[in-house]
Point group: C2
Chain length 334, copies 2
Amino acid sequence: MTTVLPPVLRTAREVVDPVLRKVVARLDPDTRRVCEYHFGWRNADGTPDGGGGKALRPAMVLLSAQTCAAAEQPVAAAAAVELVHNFSLLHDDVMDGDTSRRHRPTAWIVFGRPAALLAGDALLALSTDVLLESSSPHAAAAARWLTDATRALIAGQAADLDFERRQEVSLRQCLRMAHDKTAALLACAASIGAVHVGAPPEVVSRLHAFGTELGMAFQLVDDLLGLWGDPEVTGKPVLADLRARKKSVPVVHALTSGTAAGDRLRELYAQSDPLTEDQLHEAAEMVRRAGSADWTRRECDRRLATAKQHLPTGPQHAAAALTELAEFIVRRKH
Amino acid sequence: MTTVLPPVLRTAREVVDPVLRKVVARLDPDTRRVCEYHFGWRNADGTPDGGGGKALRPAMVLLSAQTCAAAEQPVAAAAAVELVHNFSLLHDDVMDGDTSRRHRPTAWIVFGRPAALLAGDALLALSTDVLLESSSPHAAAAARWLTDATRALIAGQAADLDFERRQEVSLRQCLRMAHDKTAALLACAASIGAVHVGAPPEVVSRLHAFGTELGMAFQLVDDLLGLWGDPEVTGKPVLADLRARKKSVPVVHALTSGTAAGDRLRELYAQSDPLTEDQLHEAAEMVRRAGSADWTRRECDRRLATAKQHLPTGPQHAAAALTELAEFIVRRKH
């Protein structure tokens, strides 16, 4: 069964893409080329391409503002969040050495590490620009809301890299890392629209809590797809997370499970040589046997249910669309 | 003869450091540690250290605001510019593979590339924070002023890296790169204080022009020090720019001089093997013989003189202090 993309994603893409393209066009030609490739607007040779990611975050920004019955769409905020998200993808791919994304070679593979780093830097700087250019009197508050999330993102990536080198990571530390790396920006995406239109703090806070829970569910799904997702669908190499000995949530759950399968996984992770293909599959199987796949799936569902409870009681269609988006995120296959 | 540090630099350091330390303390412990090391506040083992750079840019921000007879000091703007400057140092050191800065191993040597990149990212995000937190009604305008300079900085670094791979670079392209890499942020430092206190556009524009010319002189001095500076004083390895076949302004001037020395330099730069120590010294000598050291020194003086002409006619002591700072920049040995 394929998961059908909710129509709000296409709408968000159509609304936000022109703003993104406009600000990226401000960059010097070299840096612009890398960004346009990364966004999927152009191929490596500069010819036009169909375009990029799922626009989940922009859709959340636009929908969450609708729950506040805002008169205007916070398009600038939606674009700014997408710029920060893509800044982090560009840099993370360099740091993690990931070679493919969205079924294409990563930017650093095509243009080299320095160019990809500069492109990420540029997108981060543009995210401030795009927000502060908007006419909203709350633009500065929204910009600070976004830098808080950016700081969390950086903390999460720092922890993620640190975990690769450490033997012992507790489940609590791992969930904290997942929060920082993923949930913080989704929480920002779910609430920055409300900040940008000047919604009451109570509404901002409910949307932030919704986004945090949904973001956690999102990361848990990502972790599961990193272990059992179909590379043809995800666009990522099979078992890449295990190969890099990432301490994702299901892995840490298994490592700290006190089961025989967890102990075997620990042995494999402690091995000095790179894991063989057979060992990679065995490691994935140990995660499953430790009960960690089931636990992660249940935790996903629980987070999704909690997220829905936080949704503010705004216009019915907006809440319904946000719920639909939330469910899509948890059911997606890529 | 040693160059005495103008007292304004120490004052700027004392005013801005507490703000920098406060915002860096917001970061996660791993990233914070890297930033505190980079700023020279701590050693690699976490013990306190004496502290860092020359605070040229913060001093320019504070002094330029004085030329507008501003009631308040734009400390936030001074801190923000210093954060952007240090973001670029952290990232450039990774991209250029530079191993020492200010007589210490660079951050990526001590903490690894990913940690240094994340630290740079964090400083860039904090620069927005620190400006938008200030109570100035012009903070958002100042933040956009700063992102314009950041974009130029990125363009300059992209061009600098591109030049290393290219055979042909014109003097004009090279001067443009020097402008983007160095002069744009100095121009911002010289004018953002005026933006932050709401000075008239005419004053902002004069200060920006002053900073641009001074920034060009600054980069030309840097290029000369990169060739003939004393490594003991500069804290950089001898002839590092030639070793990396950087196309700095004096080098490009020599390469495009049409002299025999320029032709020999071209041969050396085209060689596929790394240059030997003898060849590095020969290359430096060819730059001198092509007349490019003299030309660069004259160009420096010309830029400095032009810079002074742009200075607005504000309070006498502020203009005098800015002039003193400008002269220090051009006479410095490190």
